[in-house]
Symmetry: C2
Subunit: 206 residues, 2 copies
Amino acid sequence: MKRIADSAVRRLSLYLRFLEEFESRGLTTISSDELAARGRTTSSQVRKDLSFFGSFGKRGLGYSVAELAARLRQILGLEREWQVIIIGAGKIGEALAQYRGFSQRGFRIAAVYDSDPAKIGRRIDGFVVRSIDTLRADQAKRSADIAIITVPAEAAQRVVTLVVQTGIRAIMNFAPIQLQVPDNVAIKTVNMAMELEGLSFALSNR
Amino acid sequence: MKRIADSAVRRLSLYLRFLEEFESRGLTTISSDELAARGRTTSSQVRKDLSFFGSFGKRGLGYSVAELAARLRQILGLEREWQVIIIGAGKIGEALAQYRGFSQRGFRIAAVYDSDPAKIGRRIDGFVVRSIDTLRADQAKRSADIAIITVPAEAAQRVVTLVVQTGIRAIMNFAPIQLQVPDNVAIKTVNMAMELEGLSFALSNR
């Protein structure tokens, strides 16, 4: 498959949300113009994004909302359940462990880990925080698909190396540091300060 | 100024982090090749991103690390302090109120708000959670620059409309919903489930 940019994948996630919105309003077909207007983009962008994955819709008739939504769920890998572990039971890890929006999309939090004896054994919303030392053995039994890393920056590379060794191939990193992973591992870094820098940039350059 | 894409602003934030890393290792000059290699991009991308903001570096001599870092801080609006308020004292709001990485970049959390009587008056790491009803009066006195919205999806549009009315022109939204704001307001939505969808996409399409 042609390599698709992260920004295009993000747009597919957005289109899916818009389609679900249209569906809940009882709409059955939608044009690329309408989808584009909802996403503040252009219809040629919408068509280009979708064309990566084959042909959709009929010229002049638009897309079937239900069919396109189903196809996007399939493309985004949302037709199955994914097992997710969280490593780092601090405030952000705790918030994510309790975040309802994950399970709605099929992302099931399977376990929360920490290395701090004061946190191990503590209960977070149904989870008992496990020792990071058990990760390898746990993975041999259970095999999570995605790891969310919410440890401090100085521990993050060590943790991610361990995670990759256990066979996990997708990582979401909240530590404010760029982590090195092998090419066959997908990683996304959410850097809260960088997000705010996008706003301070906007405020400074208007 | 020519409009610059969000993705380019993100890269500027990354370049700044790499430059600070180089600086801490005692490097004084850096080529666009080295900067590109660190960021897993191309040197022509680096030069293109920087060229938006004038000319940097000398052909064949590379960039002065300190000068380029200073210029990027200026471009990103990081030479001043920004007052940030958090609206929504749930788990994510609480985690962000305590996040050290913000103050390091000049983002000062000025106050935390909620509408829940059970949360108002509670202490979070030095902040006493204030009633959202005081926001308008508070803003008349203090004038925060950026609002971080961490309320539930169903309350988010109402809150963001209020925030915009108080004169705030930059919003970071953690509610899993697309919010409508006037064109002169910058908004960034961090959707945790969408970030995971980028990973389930990668796992499904390899």
